[in-house]
Symmetry: C2
Subunit: 410 residues, 2 copies
């Protein structure tokens, strides 16, 4: 079973012409370009011999006929606004190419390959919409409430897409033996370490919190320091303490970010009456995230006290960590080793459809290096040799899985 | 020499009707209300026997006829937008009432009293415009460049006021033996300590700085902590260190405030590429301010380093401290003591016209308590008894100065 590098690269490049912007792609979910790309993919899957359709939310699902079981492979073809050409698309074209390679190998099989491009992984309307719908998760409420940043309702986007009412593609526990997603790393670890293949151990959980400190707006010249209720000073002390605490108590892979700070009223000569920090922290262990959140909440109270301020910490968003399946990850490692590619186990610091899939069946992910660690930008890129190597390793992992494929999911 | 409390309070209340808003006053410099108030004042000064005129920038200057020397007394009658009824107006009406009391005392004098209301102390267009113009400071460039927050040029405001071309009122070194300004405290110190009269030792200098940290916008999940260039983390550490350093190295009267924080791009999942803090610190000693600024600049560099960021610290504004004249301050203290009022020496944490005047002649200030320390708000207020007591103490200080008034400025 052999993939054909030229065909793989040609399809990746052709897909990148749909919504092309500078050296990147602008193809947010449900844009005309996104829908055109999905129709193009459907036709490509059909040409590869898959039973392919775009479903009621925009998932493009290609089913290999004549098999009892299938490895599901894929990612997403929607992009962030004015994003890169590989984020999502890489994993989708890998799936298409591997399905072609399996079909071309000619062997009669009980276990085949299904390919998928999930809708709106990037959250233009509702992050991970496609994979959540595919897995039959309860999303009707979220779908009804979801709006894009510019105020368009997801319900309207669905109606205008002409897709509404089509049957949903669905995970089939009897058919699907596992899910494999290839993706660009979106970070610099592989490039910096010289690794060629990232084998994802887990997708980290993310907790996004908002800390609001409340004090009193007073004249910053005439009010003695001990009489102030200084929300800004409390927030600054908290921001510094947060880094210290997470550095001291997090795992080596814990990351965090204070992304936004807002002081009100915002004048240099007025003591801030309100100061807000929005921050998030990520780790592969949910227990550790819970412990860190407790430390952070304590730190906020500690920092409010000396400045006579009040602190409120609210959880804005929570995504739970998702462990990848050790057997599938092991197969990717074995495939890399057989092909002489250097592989490194690593957590994924970003969310992916595989995070949803892992809640329902064994799932694993393969990363290829991102040049300069860049993503979500038109400069996002991966060398051709890394793109081809990633596809070859994933294809070999699929081959190993198909040979071993009588094992259905538990 | 006796002031008349009822007349004083009636004039204060009448002035507050011009531009009245709720329990406060909206009379920004060069508004129709401000110009009307200045014309009202001019007429009141003329009725008190002063040679009164509104000058080319809007200063209302009333000159006592028939004297060789004069104590200049006054403040400003413009307000911040929707401000209080006493800020500035109190000192202007004290000047008017004391001029009346001197005139009514009937004694022939070589030394009299001049009254003044300076223009735009609050900086609607150009802070301290009136006193700087009165002292003949070089302000032509500042006047040409000045605009209000809503974009109106000071030059246009001057032209439209009909004042342009009128002769400027000017400080006269041979005539003016000193400047006295009464003002509400705008802070809680007198009220909290039970003091009735504040005798200002110095008006603090203010340095307003902007610290900008520059890093790189990276994915906050996929970029390992040591590889980040985190402008936000540097700014937070700096904000916390700033408080520590100023607390440790400032004087007991040093105050500081981080009033504004802005992170770009401002998303919880993107490492901030730029973080700006705008802050100020105040003290009565210019040498100490210089030393503190050096410590702050060092702190910014220290905080940038561990986060691979760059720091730039720019001085946005500098007002130098102004010491009050010890002899004049002593006369206010003596007057308070004679009238049985409790007096406390204190620095002024806010800027005042007396700060400009002190650069050119002996100047002193008297504070009356502000209820709840509030100012620049419609709720700003002072009890009637405190208003009257302040006028009586200032009048007595003027009387002492007139008795002692053969001493001209050095």
């Amino acid at each position: 079973m052999q993939i054909r590098p030229e065909r793989l690269l040609a399809d990746l490049r052709e897909l990148a012409t749909i919504g092309a912007f500078e050296t990147g792609v602008n193809r947010p979910a449900f844009s005309a370009e996104d829908l055109a790309a999905r129709e193009w993919l459907r036709a490509r899957m059909a040409a590869a011999g898959l039973e392919a359709a775009v479903d009621g939310v925009g998932n493009v699902y290609g089913r290999m006929p004549g098999v009892d079981h299938a490895v599901l492979i894929g990612s997403h073809s929607d992009t962030v606004p004015y994003g890169g050409w590989l984020d999502g698309s890489l994993g989708v074209i890998y799936a298409l190419e591997i399905a072609r390679a399996v079909a071309e190998s000619g062997a009669a099989r009980r276990v085949g390959v299904d390919a998928i491009s999930f809708q709106d992984e990037e959250g233009t309307f509702l992050a991970l919409l496609g994979s959540r719908s595919f897995c039959g998760e309860a999303i009707d409420g979220d779908v009804a409430a979801a709006r894009s940043k510019d105020g368009r309702a997801l319900a309207d986007a669905l109606a205008e897409s002409g897709l509404r009412g089509r049957p949903p593609a669905r995970l089939d526990a009897r058919r699907h033996v596992g899910f494999l997603e290839a993706h660009i790393e979106q970070g610099p670890r592989l490039e910096r370490s010289g690794g060629q293949i990232g084998v994802v151990s887990a997708i980290v959980g993310i907790r996004t919190l908002r800390a609001v400190f409340r004090g009193q707006a007073d004249h910053a010249g005439t009010t003695p320091m001990p009489m102030r209720r200084d929300a800004g000073a409390a927030a600054l002390m908290f921001g510094a303490l947060l880094s210290e605490r997470l550095g001291a108590h997090g795992s080596p892979d814990t990351v965090w970010n204070v992304g936004s700070a807002t002081f009100k009223p915002g004048a240099s000569n007025v003591v801030p009456s309100e100061a807000e920090l929005i921050f998030q922290f990520r780790d592969a262990s949910d227990d550790l995230l819970t412990e860190l959140e407790r430390l952070i909440r304590d730190a906020a109270m500690e920092c409010a006290r000396p400045f006579n301020a009040e602190a409120e910490v609210v959880r804005v968003l929570e995504t739970r960590p998702a462990a990848m399946d050790p057997r599938l990850a092991g197969l990717i490692e074995r495939a890399a080793s057989e092909l002489g590619a250097s592989a490194a186990r690593m957590p994924s610091g970003a969310g992916h459809d595989a995070m949803v899939m892992a809640r329902h069946l064994p799932a694993a992910m393969l990363f290829v290096p991102s040049i300069g660690g860049r993503s979500h930008h038109v400069s996002e890129d991966t060398s051709e040799s890394d793109i081809v190597r990633g596809a070859q390793v994933l294809a070999r992992a699929v081959e190993l899985l198909l040979q071993d494929g009588t094992r259905s999911p538990a």
